[in-house]
């Protein structure tokens, strides 16, 4: 038995420490520690509600757009205000751009070095002049003796399986992806002013009144991103998967899945009709149940907060608090700044896999046919036709990320067409002025999806100010510590059973953590 600590876990958003117990070449137990506390719920209190969307937006700089949207939707819920259709379409388009930005960045910038041996690419036979150029550039970089950001990577690790030619091609795509994620951000900025932290979506609608030219500009930039998704990202995932097919046998996790739903259906505004619909799955059953934010409960028995900050409270209840109390990292007691979020006393996995499973099992959602054909054809390509359960694995999280990107691209194209039609039809409605009338009292929740999973923002307004604000982002689900019954959080559970070839270089542990897009 050996305890391995990985701290810092790199190539993620935020700060994470992971401790695993390894026995006989496999992970036997695991503990995840979020090592940063900032106190958003404390400092948003007593502020003007219209400021709250800018402040809560800052919870995450990798998925800011989703936090901005959840915050604004929560406030609109309290204000009892509905944004006009054009505003919903613009928000969807910005969300789609952010999700594609994030998915591309995740697969290449954050994950690729777990599977692609960059130094092995030096010995490849380049099949095209372009690949030769990349290889020459890489060679000069390596020969300079300054490996910089590549220094200390797990190059030559026995779990690296790709042939040199594929390593070279994937490295070329890594560089290309860096440009593509910046493109997606440019598209978003057309409507949002900037990315990260767009400026145009306060409660009530959007402040931007785009010209037809702006819309075409967005479309033009997005096309480059969606082309990359369809012609490079998806083929790359399908090409790499056979080399790592054993990754379908571990990293399963808790088998409970939650999605609040994302990408609004502009006509119904029904969360079960979103392109990625709302729903929950329990116990690995291939069956979706309805779910409501009022069912969320938070616990703190293993987190560095006073007892009052948890104990089964719903974040929207009027006695929900957040009072920090650091002790030390003690895996038998308290060991993280993340709270334990649960539904029906169960830890829930959130993220792309959850969304795609729920979409695959929601026949009444508008993109059901698309999801079904994407998933079924991929299962077939992987030699597992009719066995969607193999997606509940490390490999499944990667595969669904690529498939979801195609769905998001489809939805963005449909929303763009709709927006253009609206404008042609003379709909020039972008903002509901009631969004600026802050009520004296109110309570609301905005439940949405960041690229990395379910997030919800609860607010209560009293005397025209924020009386309480609670956010449960994806990391409070996936990186939950143990619950009161001692059951592991989703990432902790997924780590159990992961093979570890070399305890000094726990590459496989990193891989499983990264599949959660932390």
């Amino acid at each position: 038995m050996a305890r391995i600590v990985v701290d810092p876990v790199t190539r993620i958003e935020g700060h994470l420490r992971v401790e695993v117990e390894v026995d006989g070449g496999k992970v036997k137990d695991a503990w995840t520690t979020c090592t940063l506390f900032r106190g958003f719920e404390i400092f948003i209190k007593d502020r003007p509600p219209l400021d709250a969307w800018h402040i809560a937006h800052r919870i995450c700089g990798v998925c800011p757009t989703s936090h901005g949207h959840a915050a604004t939707m929560g406030l609109e819920n309290s204000f009892n205000v509905t944004p006009p259709g054009n505003a919903v379409l613009i928000r969807n388009l910005m969300e789609a751009a952010q999700q594609l930005h994030s998915h591309v960045l995740w697969f290449y910038t954050l994950n690729a070095f777990d599977y692609v041996d960059v130094l092995s690419a030096l010995s490849a036979q380049p099949s095209t002049p372009a690949l030769k150029t990349v290889q020459d550039r890489l060679k000069a970089f390596a020969d300079s003796g300054q490996l910089g950001f590549l220094d200390g990577g797990y190059w030559g690790h026995p779990a690296m399986k790709l042939p040199p030619e594929m390593n070279l091609e994937l490295t070329a795509h890594y560089l290309q992806a860096l440009a593509i994620q910046a493109k997606a951000a440019q598209a978003l900025a057309v409507f949002g002013g900037k990315f990260p932290y767009h400026m145009s979506t306060p409660p009530g609608g959007v402040t931007v009144v785009p010209s037809l030219q702006d819309i075409e500009n967005f479309e033009f930039i997005m096309k480059e991103v969606t082309d990359f998704v369809r012609n490079v990202f998806v083929p790359d995932v399908l090409a790499v998967a056979p080399y790592y097919i054993d990754h379908a046998t571990f990293g399963k996790g808790v088998g409970n899945f939650l999605s609040w739903g994302v990408l609004e259906d502009v006509d119904s505004r029904d969360p079960y009709k979103r392109a990625l619909p709302r729903g929950a799955i329990f116990g690995g059953q291939l069956k979706v149940e309805q779910v409501d934010p009022s069912e969320v409960q938070e616990y703190v028995s293993h987190s560095w907060y006073t007892h009052d900050s948890g104990a089964g409270k719903n974040p929207g209840s009027n006695n929900a608090t957040t009072a920090p109390q650091y002790t030390k990292v003690d895996t038998n007691d308290k060991y993280t700044w993340a709270k334990t979020a649960q539904i029906k006393n169960k830890p829930m996995e959130v993220g792309t896999l959850a969304r795609m499973l729920i979409a695959y099992l929601s026949p009444n959602a508008p993109y059901y046919a698309t999801v079904k054909s994407l998933v079924d054809s991929t299962l077939q390509a992987l030699g597992s036709a009719g066995k969607p359960e193999i997606l509940i694995s490390a490999l499944g999280r990667i595969a669904t990320k690529a498939l979801e990107s195609v769905l998001i691209a489809d939805k963005a194209e449909a929303d763009l067409a709709r927006l253009k039609q609206n404008i042609k039809d003379g709909d020039n409605n972008w903002f509901n002025p009631k969004g600026h009338d802050v009520p004296d009292a109110g309570a609301g929740v905005g439940a949405w999806e960041a690229p990395r999973g379910a997030l919800a923002h609860w607010n209560r307004i009293e005397g025209g100010k924020i009386a309480s604000y609670q956010a449960v982002p994806a990391s409070n689900w996936n990186f939950s510590p143990r619950n009161d019954q001692g059951q592991r959080g989703p990432v902790e559970e997924a780590l159990v059973g992961t093979p570890v070839a070399d305890a000094a270089k726990p590459l496989e542990v990193l891989r499983v953590i990264h599949t959660f897009d932390p």
Binding site: V6, D7, P8, T10, E13, H15, L36, F37, R38, F40, I42, P48, L50, D51, R58, I59, G61, V62, P64, T133, R137, A140, F141, S144, Q146, G148, F149, L150, D151, G152, G153, Y154, W155, L178, Q181, A182, Q186, F191, G192, G193, K194, F195, P196, Y197, S200, P202, G205, V206, T207, V208, V209, W304, P324, Y326, W337, N429, W430, P433, H436, P506
Partner: protein, 365 residues
């Protein structure tokens, strides 16, 4: 030229660099020479403390030079948790090695947890311990983003963790490139300025490079004519917005915010906060979350001229002086730049650089 890129790419990169610094294209050979003669890429440690990763995300949106150009050809990014291949003990080893060698640029993202030090830890050390280690051997310390510079979002009232900016936390001398997030079109020129001239640029009293942050947003805003003429947006999404009237009455903080946003713009010059109709929330100013609380309320005490009045003229005189000063600073720095990395321009003698001297203009392309 550097071995690792072709000549055309390299010249493009040098041209982009010149533009970022507000120098004319005739400076490209000098810049090329400076970069070519560097025996090695300058080592950089980028450490993230109390942050949201938005600063790094923003930096990774760099265009021309692109992020790939920067990490492969301009700097040696020896530690950056979001990008680096290494993790855990291997990442720690990279950090230790670079700190031990000294002479690196320390880039800091995120605030320092002073009140509850354990609110921010990496590898068992608090941000307060780490920032001291990191800055001790650094050749220069660059704080990117409002959090590292001034405490940022977590430092707003009541600041539950006692978060502070680097200078306030440990008294280190820092160059601040604030913003929530900072703009790559402000971060890169500051780094390149240091690499070329081998000294930190002149700073304002808040530690910001004067060549970027001297002027106010309001001085350069495309909607300024409407402000002067008294034409305002009073409702979002209205006809007035379609006409791009001034956002002052919707709460725009441009009149009190020092930043070149209207010129640098965002994301390869796609747009910016005023263009998208919300207005500025002042994110490049210290303590802006508290100072500008109630973002959608109109700023008090801003004189509304109604015509091009005294206040406006004074601002214009100011901007002209800044440009001239910057030109002087630039050439002085070049002539004294260390160890032949950057030679004097042949045609220019001791005078200011010719042609374009838009001192406060950064550019992403």
């Amino acid at each position: 030229m550097r071995m690792d890129m072709n000549r055309r790419d390299f010249i493009r990169l040098c041209g982009g660099t010149a533009a970022m610094l507000g120098l004319s294209y005739s400076w490209v050979p000098e810049i090329a020479q400076a970069l070519e003669q560097a025996a090695k890429r300058p080592p950089v440690i980028w450490m993230s403390f109390m942050e949201c990763t938005g600063c790094l995300e923003s930096f990774a949106k760099s265009v021309n030079p692109s992020t790939a150009d920067i990490v492969l050809d301009i700097i040696s990014l020896n530690y950056q948790e979001n990008i680096m291949a290494a993790a855990g003990t291997q990442a720690e080893a990279d950090l230790k090695k670079t700190i031990g060698q000294g002479g690196y640029i320390a880039v800091i993202e995120g605030a320092i947890a002073v009140g509850i030090p354990e609110a921010m830890m990496v590898a068992g050390k608090t941000s307060l311990e780490l920032v001291k280690e990191l800055t001790q051997n650094a050749a220069a310390t660059l704080c990117v983003g409002t959090c590292a510079a001034y405490g940022g979002v977590q430092a707003m009232r009541p600041n539950p963790t006692g978060a502070k900016g680097v200078k306030d936390a440990i008294g280190a001398k820092t160059v601040n490139v604030p913003g929530c997030p900072p703009n790559p079109a402000h971060m890169l020129p500051t780094i390149v300025h240091y690499l070329l001239f081998n000294k930190i640029p002149d700073l304002d009293s808040d530690g910001r490079p004067l060549f970027l942050y001297e002027q106010k947003i309001h001085d350069n805003c495309e909607r300024r004519a409407h402000f002067d003429a008294g034409r305002y947006v009073t409702q979002f999404g209205s006809k007035e917005e379609t006409l791009q009237y001034c956002l002052y009455k919707m709460g725009c903080k441009g009149p009190e915010t020092h930043s070149p946003c209207p010129k640098t713009l965002w994301n390869n010059k796609q747009s910016w906060c005023v263009k998208c109709g919300n207005g500025c929330i002042g994110c490049m100013e210290p303590n802006f979350w508290d100072r500008f609380e109630d973002f959608y309320q109109q700023l008090p005490n801003v004189p509304i001229p109604g015509f091009v009045g005294v206040e406006t003229s004074a601002d214009w005189i100011g901007s002209t002086l800044v440009t001239a000063t910057m030109a002087g600073v630039g050439i002085h720095a070049v002539t004294t730049a260390a160890k032949g990395r950057f030679k004097k321009h042949p045609e220019e003698g001791e005078g200011p650089p010719p042609a374009k001297t838009e001192a406060s203009q950064g550019s992403e392309d």
